[in-house]
């Protein structure tokens, strides 16, 4: 039935064969099913695996943070580990924000894992809004030290991974005070535990923040500092500096910190794609195995994947997973392309990339978050069991809607850029890049019939034409938001108040912009695929992605006159036809994601489809079936029966 082999799609789309062999069969990495372990046990297992991983990294000579990230992703799957921030933020920050002298001192310790570090930014009272952080670092010229303090309950560092039990150092973000003045947020390397004994240092209160929705194996921690002194050299001084006498030297540009943010957010876009792909793999394979009810009286029970409603739940998500994959790759490439420019001091492209990644981080993580839940629910009751693996994917993924920038705030950052670009166009300037469609708006104002005149032009079977439709929607919503903002400004004095009263519109505009970018990137990708069969099936997915989005946001397209109600009816009809077209390739399309059973961690999503036998085997391993039942039970019952 399937017209494509998994290997063909994997090769042409993902262009990688994961080096799974390196680790996946390594007996050191085998462990009991984490679902049956307590939180403390899970933490211990994670530390064991992290330690082993460090050994492997040394063995293979892998040291670059991004390489380490991909090594972990491909070789260890969804492995959450207390060392995570050591290899990402701690290492990266020390690499990029220190002077040569500091590098010489710290990098060997970090790379050799002689110390374990984390990145302590978020406080109990403040997250995304960095300027609100309250931790202080006051310079004392007499001793040439910074004195660190957590002045309030809300200023206690809260959430950093690996902080609770594992790390002995942290990069702490604090408000710098020198010569009686606050100079804003700066980063400091702070030792928190005694090397050798691992006891917290005097003046440091540190611990675990307790159980969470997921991340059981992670010791997210709190950190409270009371007059804790560190030497002047522990401030990261590549950009801003404090001289021995306390004189503050300003950094050249504040845009430089964008680089790291863009990097981390691009990783989240990739994560959105991967997490959604995992959930789709499980749900689609299981839907091919599960037979239920009847389509035709008297006939055997059909695979539930043959029901239109089931296809309607899952295939648009499958298309979304592919779309996000391409978007993630695009951002990663763009980041690498322009990080060379950044290094040379050319920051011209950075604001747009920063705005774009903020929005795409929010758009993709929100969509993937909801999509994973859809996949779980499409698996019926068994999706709710831990054995399905989807609950784990969800709880691990869902915090990405919040961390590295709360999504609504991210959308508003993108909106700020869009409004700025719109205003530039209004004042006669031209804008470039992904927002260049705003240039056309001025022409439309001269020809008011332009938008309506385009109606007939949208061809619902042509991705390129659909990109234009999305473009028109984005332009219309950006313009509406910008105009509403202006109207509010005309009524009120405060800019901030006007902004707040327009923020629902602004978020919608950003969403429409991101949606356009995704459809555009997906469509652009099609022409790069040389294998005809792969290109054909991806074109179907791309059409489904674009048309489903129109169907779900029909109001926007109707209201702007981009599509007529007849066309919307055609779009709805075409979506259903595409479901049937994609159906024969559905399993091949998820097989192409190429997740190994061990990484998928799902009984429902097994490659061999032997679901029920293995569910029973899995359940038998449950600790509740191992403990003595009768004793505590009878205590209760005897009591009951008196």
């Amino acid at each position: 039935m399937c017209s494509l082999s998994r290997a063909v799609i994997t090769e042409f789309v993902f262009l990688c064969l994961s080096p799974e062999a390196l680790v996946i069969n390594d007996p050191d990495f085998q462990h009991e099913d984490l679902n049956f372990l307590s939180r403390s046990q899970r933490y211990e297992q994670a530390i064991r695996k992290s330690s082993l991983m460090v050994m492997k990294l040394r063995e293979y000579g892998i040291a670059d943070p991004e390489e380490i990230y991909w090594f972990k992703r491909t070789c260890l799957g969804n492995f959450i580990e207390p060392f995570g921030l050591h290899f990402s933020m701690f290492h990266k920050t020390i690499e990029t924000q220190t002077t040569d002298a500091q590098k010489k001192k710290w990098l060997p310790l970090v790379r050799g894992v002689k110390i374990i570090g984390t990145y302590a930014q978020t406080e109990m009272g403040h997250g995304t809004h960095l300027r609100g952080l309250e931790t202080t670092a006051t310079y004392d010229p007499a001793t040439q030290e910074f004195i660190l303090n957590s002045p309030t309950v809300t200023s206690i560092k809260w959430w950093p991974g690996g902080l609770g039990k594992t790390s002995n150092h942290a990069i702490v973000l604090a408000q710098l005070y020198t010569q009686g003045q606050c100079k804003g947020l700066h980063a400091f390397i702070v030792p928190i535990r005694q090397l050798g004994t691992h006891e917290p240092l005097p003046g440091i209160t540190v611990g675990d923040i307790g159980p969470k929705f997921g991340y059981d194996e992670m010791d997210n921690g709190y950190l409270k500092m009371d007059n804790f002194r560190i030497p002047r050299e522990n401030m990261l001084m590549k950009y801003a500096q404090v001289e021995p006498d306390g004189t503050y030297v300003k950094p050249v540009s504040d845009k430089l910190t964008y680089g790291t943010m863009v990097f981390i957010r691009s990783l989240i876009v990739g994560d959105s794609a991967r997490s959604l792909s995992r959930a789709c793999t499980i749900a689609i394979r299981y839907s091919a195995v599960r037979h239920q009810s009847e389509l035709k009286p008297g006939a055997p029970e059909p695979q539930i994947l043959d029901y239109q409603t089931q296809q309607y739940k899952l295939f648009p998500l499958l298309a979304t997973a592919y779309a996000f994959h391409f978007v993630g790759a695009y951002i990663k490439d763009t980041y690498h392309r322009i990080s060379g420019d950044i290094h040379d001091g050319d920051l011209s492209e950075l604001p747009e990339l920063h705005a774009l990644t903020a929005g795409l981080k929010a758009f993709t993580s929100w969509t993937a978050n909801a999509g994973i839940e859809e996949c779980r629910m499409a698996c019926g009751g068994h999706g709710y069991s831990r054995c399905s693996g989807i609950p784990d994917i969800y709880v691990t993924f869902t915090p990405s809607c919040t961390y590295e920038g709360e999504n609504t705030v991210m959308m508003l950052q993108t909106a700020r850029f869009l409004v700025k670009s719109y205003n530039q166009v209004s004042s006669g300037q031209r804008v470039t890049g992904m927002v260049s469609y705003l240039n056309d708006l001025s022409r439309q104002r001269i020809q008011p019939q332009h938008v309506a005149g385009r109606t007939e032009a949208v061809r619902i079977n042509d991705p390129v034409s659909l990109v234009e439709a999305y473009k028109a929607r984005a332009a219309r919503l950006v313009e509406a938001a910008a105009k509403n903002l202006q109207a509010e400004l005309n009524h009120r004095k405060s800019k901030e108040d006007a902004w707040n009263r327009t923020s629902v519109d602004l978020v919608r505009a950003s969403e429409a912009h991101c949606h356009y970018v995704i459809v555009k990137l997906f469509t652009a990708k099609l022409s790069e695929i040389s294998n005809a069969a792969v290109c054909a099936v991806l074109t179907e997915l791309c059409l489904l992605y674009a048309l489903y989005g129109i169907s779900r946001n029909a109001g926007d397209f109707l209201q702007a006159g981009i599509l007529t109600d007849t066309q919307i009816t055609q779009v709805n009809q075409r979506v259903k036809e595409l479901l049937a077209v994609i159906r024969p390739n559905a399993v091949a399309l998820v097989d192409s994601f190429d997740f190994h059973d061990v990484h998928l961690g799902s009984v429902l999503g097994r490659y061999d489809g032997n679901v029920y036998e293995n569910m029973f085997e899995w359940a038998k391993k449950s600790p509740l079936n191992k403990t003595e039942v009768r004793k505590p039970y009878l205590v209760g019952l005897n009591d009951l029966w008196r």
């Binding site: 211990e44 992290s50 405060s494 978020v507 600790p623 009768r630």
Partner: protein, 675 residues
């Protein structure tokens, strides 16, 4: 304020200890909070009764949920059994009966964190499906807990689709027994609560065979564990199905039966009977088997779905006035996050929905109680409507509340993700409601089937049940609103909803007809229309909910500001629905693009109006701190102190992890090879 005991008093906090950011919210309420609480409870007398029950339960340390977030699955299970035993004692002590008004409040005060809930379903199914003789035999045993019951319907391979169940019960005339078997691995009973470790008996649904002929699914009482030593009975294999997203305290179980023999009298036979010679007799409708499901469905909506959303709104809204973040105006203090329009747009529609569903649930209960009385009198006429209604509403309410609760969770930023916020457990629990007692898509399709049938009947001039008479009254015309204020008129938006529902139902019916006439087989035509059918069923339920909210508000007494604020919430609920489903209303031009902009404007205005009453509106739900069990949502708003205190209690901070000595130390000293 009419009632003497204000919320403040029962919470046991002096105003002085309340976070000023939260206290100030309570000073400006436009309505009387105690009066609204009384409306929600169904009268001030009920409020007093509820509080008295809550007081008794919460002052007893056995019922404490204080350490719940730190407990293992085993500890949770044991605590739930202990509570189940203790609650019975307590109720006897207090003189509260199982079917008295107090018992529902007892269950709520425990937040469902108690074992033997399926025991009630066991009893209910015997009461409904059993003959008088069976009721007389089993109900006293069950009420006295001489046995513990469960309800085994779902199998590994089949859930909502009952006809597909594979367990068999073969009648053996020679011994007058049924022989029960699990013929395949997918036939294993899977998921029933209380069955993994606790239950001694269970109602098993199995395909009945007499002399080689299959008579379909029937219920049988089967003993699975010894009443002496609790060991499994011969031929029975049972155990726990392993960890789930929530319900750690419940031993959801599996059950395999191998030639288990039960006496003929153990088939529940009020409606069907197998006589000693093997003759099969049916009395009444076969649909009656669905009735237990319908009844469970109706009873769970309030406690398992609407209350959790109310709790989540309480937590998220209180936290949103305590959390200050960023500045709205330069130089000013950081703003409460509830003052941001985007935060209001997340939370306030959920609050409005909680109220809307509370009222539609009352309506559903009336309908159900009437139907129940009729069925007791063997009149099955109302069953189709009741079934269609309860299906669609269960699906709509669970889906809406689930996503609403997730929005609340995510609106609390990082701290929402901590179990100590209370939100993750509320969320993972409500999630299950989308699946149990009927998978939502299937339920919506059942409602759709009913709607299509009624639409055809109505078009042919036949009479239809009262809830769907509107289908006969398709009026041409457009929305008449001229400015944004017109959209605050219930007539305007109710008609828009009605129009959308009729349009979706009639166009789907027409499409179905076209397909069939063009030669597509009936079942295939149905499958090709299911996406639209689901949409039509949702539109119907949404319309009925809006209409019911409007009618409820009209009936409220206009004192103490209650009617005003409820009118605002009703408007918000209705306009949020139009705003979020704009395509449906714009599609045939019933609402124009310009009118849609008015809807948006009115909708955003309402957010600002309701914002002022947001905290009083959640206070009116009257949850105690113990019941919320949330570090973020407590009445006094001392969020950060509580979060810090609770975190320090975490066992991870008390135990010394062996991980340092075993792994970290060798790693840091480069002696990894010794691992």
């Amino acid at each position: 304020m009419a009632l003497p005991d204000t919320t403040e008093d029962t919470q046991g906090f002096g105003l002085a200890s309340v976070n000023p950011d939260l206290a100030s919210e309570r000073l400006t309420a436009s309505f009387s909070v105690p009066r609204l609480t009384a409306v929600l409870d169904g009268g001030a007398e009920r409020t007093r009764l509820r509080r008295a029950v809550v007081d008794v339960i919460e002052s007893d340390p056995v019922f404490s949920r204080e350490n719940q977030y730190f407990q293992s699955q085993n500890e949770r299970y044991e605590a739930a059994v202990r509570k189940a035993v203790h609650v019975r004692k307590k109720m006897q002590e207090m003189g509260w009966s199982e079917d008295g008004p107090e018992s529902v409040y007892v269950y709520r005060a425990l937040s469902g964190d108690v074992a033997f809930l399926l025991h009630r379903v066991f009893m209910r199914s015997i009461s409904v499906l059993g003959s008088d003789k069976q009721v007389a035999k089993w109900i006293p045993l069950a009420s006295e807990y001489q046995l513990i019951g469960s309800y085994a319907q779902t199998e590994l391979g089949h859930g909502t689709y009952l006809q597909g169940l594979e367990t068999t019960a073969v009648f053996d005339i020679s011994t007058q027994e049924f022989i029960l078997n699990t013929p395949t691995i997918s036939a294993m009973k899977w998921w029933p609560g209380d069955m993994g470790r606790s239950a001694t008996h269970t109602v098993v649904f199995a395909q009945l065979y007499i002399q080689g002929k299959c008579y379909g699914v029937h219920p049988f009482i089967v003993q699975i564990r010894s009443l002496q030593d609790h060991s499994l009975c011969p031929g029975v294999i049972a155990g726990d199905i392993g960890p789930k997203m929530n319900f750690e305290h419940i031993d959801n179980g599996y059950l395999m039966l191998k030639n288990v023999r039960i006496p003929r009298e153990n088939m529940l036979n009020k409606f069907c009977e197998v006589q000693p010679d093997g003759t099969y007799i049916r009395r009444g409708s076969q649909k009656i088997n669905y009735f237990t499901m319908t009844s469970v469905r109706v009873s769970l909506i309030s406690d398992e779905v609407i209350l959790p959303l109310m709790k989540a709104c309480t937590i998220a809204i209180r936290y949103s006035v305590v959390r200050r973040q960023s500045k709205l105006k330069p130089g000013e203090e950081e703003a409460k996050i509830l003052d941001y329009q985007t935060q209001q747009e997340k939370l306030l529609p959920q609050l409005a929905a909680a109220y809307a569903f509370h009222f539609i649930n009352n309506y559903l209960h009336e309908l159900f109680n009437r139907g129940y009385r009729e069925i007791q009198g063997r009149n099955f006429d109302s069953l189709p409507e009741l079934h269609a209604f309860s299906s669609g509403f269960k699906a709509m309410v669970t889906q809406y509340c689930t996503s609403g609760l997730e929005i609340c969770l995510r609106a609390c930023g990082g701290h929402g993700y901590s179990l100590l916020s209370g939100l993750p457990s509320l969320y993972t629990k409500i999630l299950a409601s989308c699946i149990y007692e009927g998978e939502n898509t299937i339920l919506l399709l059942q409602t759709a089937r009913f709607l299509i049938k009624c639409f055809r009947a109505a078009s042919a001039g036949q009479s239809v049940p009262p809830s769907v008479t509107y289908l006969a009254a398709m009026k041409p015309g457009k929305c008449t609103a001229k400015d944004k204020l017109d959209f605050l008129s219930p007539d305007i938006y109710t008609e828009a909803y009605q129009h959308a529902a009729i349009r979706l139902i009639s166009s789907t019916a027409a499409k179905l007809q076209d397909l069939i006439q063009s030669g597509v087989e009936r079942h295939e035509a149905w499958n090709q229309c299911t996406v639209q059918l689901v949409q039509a069923a949702k539109a119907h339920c949404h319309y009925i909910t809006v209409k019911n909210f409007v009618e409820t508000v009209e009936k409220l007494e206009n004192t103490a500001g209650i009617q005003n604020i409820m009118k605002h919430l009703c408007d918000l609920f209705a306009l949020h629905g139009i705003f979020s489903n704009a395509g449906i209303f714009l599609h045939d031009g019933y609402i124009t693009g310009a009118q849609m902009d008015m809807v948006t404007a009115s909708y955003l205005d309402l957010l600002g109006i309701i914002r002022k009453d947001a905290v009083p509106l959640v206070d009116a739900f009257d949850f105690t701190d113990k019941n919320l069990n949330s570090a973020l949502g407590s009445y006094d708003g001392q969020v950060y102190q509580r979060l810090y205190e609770w975190a320090r209690k975490a066992p991870t901070n008390k135990q010394i992890s062996p991980a340092y000595e075993k792994y970290l130390k060798p790693l840091l000293h480069n002696k990894l090879s010794k691992l």
